[in-house]
């Protein structure tokens, strides 16, 4: 009779570190750790001996000292006597501003182009694929410079608006396109304007409440309430009423030509427009491809089945195709938004004061604190990127197919 016994427990031998797959990974990791530590030590010792040779040290004191340069487009109060940290903050806000604006317009361009590229209209779909190919295959830096050149070389100077028979005129008497920037009317908040704004916010909430009520009513009783015109009415009628009752508290300050330049209104600088528009049309081309791929990923059977149930084309799109397509479209869309944020660092090429141009440009050059500035710059972009990808992961988990 045979007995089953465990194989004899092999005692650990040193050669097993090389020959036994169970232990070999420890050897490799140990070697990797040594290589990593020694290369970091090598780089750091180089860094410190180089810094010592140049008489430098790592210090962030410069952030508190006056910046000493002007920034022409700021969202918060800033003078040349403000600190370098303040200048960096101005840059960060400018980066976020242009990234936000470009994300919105790029989405609009991309969705329109992506949907039209799938249309049955031969001419329009060819035109849209032409747009996508042209803009995807030419570097965004060239687009930024081309649009910036249009801004400064083609648009008229403020003096062209002067005289009885001016060479240039303002659009609708409100918007002036000049080579120094675009002047748009600025809202003026009079007394009582808070009430109007509050009414508007309440109306927006009211629209959502009405739509939810109508949907619930539809599901409960099958009665279909009209959606379109009541929503519009709820949105605008109370606000307009309050606006006139309060005596039109919100006015517009139109830009006007005073002397050699425009005054009044809001000045949107040429670099901002160039960067905004170039990032929008460039990334719009990529988003168009994502949208097209997302819609094409939904099998034709889905829309045919919806049609067989008797849904109208608009409802097929809204209730059947889009919810499924969005699951495919949103992740690449978010990474395009990330690309916009990162590409907005090209602002330095046209002189828009984003964080790369203030902290990584002028501050770096004036203080000579290269290592500190570049590290802070990287830290900022890393924070943005990692937080957006964290949000994206949460979203992906919430919309992914629930399989049982």
């Amino acid at each position: 009779m045979t007995t089953m016994t465990d194989p004899p427990q092999e005692s650990f031998r040193l050669s097993m570190l090389l020959n036994d797959t169970r232990y070999r990974s420890y050897t490799f990791q140990f070697i990797a750790l040594i290589v990593l530590i020694s290369s970091i030590a090598f780089l750091m010792s180089n860094l410190f001996s180089n810094l010592a040779a140049a008489g430098l040290n790592i210090s962030y004191q410069f952030l508190g000292s006056p910046a000493g340069y002007d920034i022409n487009q700021t969202l918060v109060e800033y003078t040349s006597q403000s600190t370098n940290a303040r200048a960096a903050l101005v840059g960060i806000l400018n980066t976020l501003l242009v990234a936000f604006l470009a994300c919105v317009t790029a989405t609009v361009f991309g969705v329109i182009a992506g949907v039209l590229r799938l249309s049955n209209n031969w001419l329009v779909s060819k035109l849209m694929s032409f747009y996508v190919e042209i803009f995807r295959n030419i570097p965004v830096l060239i687009w930024i410079i081309i649009i910036f050149t249009i801004m400064i070389a083609v648009l008229p100077g403020p003096r062209a608006f002067r005289g009885d028979d001016p060479a240039a005129s303002m659009v609708l008497n409100a918007v002036a396109f000049t080579n120094r920037g675009v002047y748009i009317p600025a809202p003026v908040w009079g007394p009582g304007s808070l009430v109007v704004v509050a009414t508007f916010i309440l109306s927006v909430i009211g629209v959502f409440a009405y739509r939810r009520y109508a949907t619930n009513l539809l599901y409960a009783t099958g009665r279909l309430l009209p959606m379109g015109w009541p929503s519009l009415a709820i949105l605008f009628v109370p606000t307009l009423l309050v606006y006139f009752i309060m005596g039109m508290p919100i006015g517009l300050d139109y830009p006007a030509l005073k002397g050699f330049n425009f005054s009044g209104g809001i000045k949107v600088g040429g670099p901002l427009i160039a960067l905004w528009f170039a990032l929008s049309i460039y990334t719009g081309a990529f988003i168009a491809e994502n949208v097209r791929a997302g819609i094409q990923a939904i099998s034709k059977g889905q829309s045919e089945a919806a049609g067989a149930l008797g849904l109208r084309p608009g409802r097929i799109m809204n209730l059947v195709v889009l919810p499924q397509a969005l699951r495919v479209i949103i992740p690449p869309l978010i990474s395009q938004y990330l690309n916009i944020t990162k590409n907005s660092s090209l602002a330095i090429a046209v002189g828009y004061a984003d964080v790369t141009a203030t902290l990584g440009g002028i501050t770096l050059n004036q203080t000579g604190r290269a290592i500190e500035c570049v590290l802070l710059l990287m830290l900022f972009y890393l924070t943005i990127s990692l937080s957006i990808s964290a949000i994206m992961n949460v979203y992906n988990n919430s919309v992914k197919l629930k399989e049982r």
Binding site: A32, N46, N50, R136, N137, K342, T356, L377, L382
Partner: protein, 429 residues
């Protein structure tokens, strides 16, 4: 039978009559594709108007262009008030646009020859049906290209080549025993040859060399874009594969090194990495050594694109069915064998479109070096050419030329990748 009573019986086939004019030919096509609904009709008319606007403004400008003048003022005289392009800036500054403004003028044949040889070297990689022997030229090409572009003593590229060959021979010898031994042994052997060889090359070897030595800071123009693009893509593919495999690894330390590297690089814009290359990287080299900006930029761009390529390849690895890994294990293959023979060939095939996308993006991003004052094509246009007294104000011709050049290259690459995808499609769809 009763048929005889019929007054008329047709005995021959009636010739088919053509379809009505509105159901065939261009009219039907236009009706189906352009004017099928009122909304589409409006769209078509709007699109036609847009096309008319674009062509109506640009075509005369291009067709009436002036080609033979030597300055903008002269060009304006020839044009005499007509709005048209001064394309003579392209012919007059052609060499500067391609080679930069410091490359010795009598040596232009060297980069031009390198450019032609590049196609010969790339052909066997791009078209796998060509004879495999041609890959030998591809292997020699980097050394040849280095010698042609930088010139100087021929000893440097030859030593580099000898080191590589020795490393390859050692690898061949040892790889049958263990892949790791072959791989690291080959690298070590190559380094030994390079270090010993480096001591043998005299310091003044560049003097009296057959090809005049050209320092890296004299490179420029579209040549610089091409060099950065080709060098960084070809260096970053192996690095990207290594990073992707490292990220999939079971060893936690190696996995986390790769994850941190990839996420860090992907989280920052390329321009900050270029700042690192231009102002920070020099601090990390041993004191007393000088590395030229070109090399530092190549290092940073390679790391940048390697992180993106690693993510693409990781997608390819994840897309492979689990069974492929298990099949390799059950055949008794060890990790390097399984990767080289079973996993990577399939994963790389899946990743080709993504890798090409990264390559196209990288090639477009080489224009960013103009921000750190390297004179690539865009840097040449914005710097020396637009600032010169002769051509101050010739924006559209130059920017349009740059756009056209990049479009041709990038569109060509993406068309190639689509062709390759069709060629490699082995599934039965």
């Amino acid at each position: 039978m009763s048929n005889t009573h019929a007054a008329f019986v047709r005995t021959e086939q009636v010739p088919p009559s053509p379809p009505p004019a509105n159901a065939a030919g261009p009219v039907k096509w236009a009706k189906d594709n352009l004017f099928s609904t009122p909304f589409y009709s409006v769209l078509t008319i709007v699109a036609l108007y847009v096309i008319y606007l674009i062509l109506g403004n640009t075509l005369p400008w291009i067709l009436n262009g002036v080609w033979g003048t030597s300055s903008l003022a002269e060009c304006r005289e020839v044009l005499d008030g007509v709005s048209a392009g001064c394309f003579s800036v392209l012919t007059e500054r052609w060499n500067q646009l391609l080679f930069g403004f410091k490359y010795p003028a009598d040596q232009y044949w060297r980069p031009a020859l390198t450019f032609l040889l590049f196609f010969a070297a790339a052909a066997p990689v791009l078209f796998y049906k060509l004879p495999r022997k041609l890959l030998l030229f591809t292997a020699i090409f980097p050394f040849l290209a280095y010698y042609l572009i930088w010139g100087g003593t021929i000893l440097t590229p030859i030593l580099a080549l000898v080191g590589t060959v020795v490393g390859y021979l050692v690898y061949q010898r040892l790889v049958s025993g263990s892949f790791a031994a072959g791989f690291f042994g080959g690298i070590a052997a190559a380094f030994v040859v390079w270090i010993i060889g480096g001591m043998l090359v005299p310091d003044n070897a560049n003097e009296g060399a057959m090809l005049q030595a050209v320092p890296s800071r004299d490179l420029g123009g579209f040549m610089l874009n091409m060099m950065l693009g080709v060098a960084c893509v070809s260096l970053s593919v192996p690095l990207g594969i290594a990073l992707a495999l490292g990220r999939q690894s079971d060893m936690p330390l190696i996995k986390w090194i790769c994850v941190i590297f990839i996420e860090f690089i992907r989280g920052v814009p390329l321009i900050t990495l270029l700042f690192v290359a231009s102002v920070m990287l020099a601090y990390f080299f041993p004191p007393g050594t000088t590395t030229d900006l070109f090399l530092r930029v190549v290092i940073m761009i390679t790391m940048f694109s390697a992180a993106y390529i690693a993510e693409v390849i990781r997608g390819g690895l994840a897309a492979l069915p689990r069974g492929q890994y298990e099949a390799a294990d059950s055949l008794g293959l060890d990790y390097p064998q399984a990767m080289r023979l079973i996993i990577l060939p399939q994963a790389l095939k899946i990743s080709i479109p993504g890798i090409v996308n990264v390559a196209v993006g990288l090639f477009k991003d080489t224009t960013l070096v103009s921000v750190i004052s390297m004179f690539d094509l865009l840097g040449m246009i914005r710097g020396p050419i637009l600032a010169s007294t002769e051509w101050n104000g010739v924006y559209w011709e130059l920017l349009g030329f740059a756009a056209l050049l990049f479009f041709v290259v990038c569109y060509g690459i993406s068309q190639y990748s689509q062709w390759l995808e069709r060629q490699l499609a082995t599934d039965h769809r």
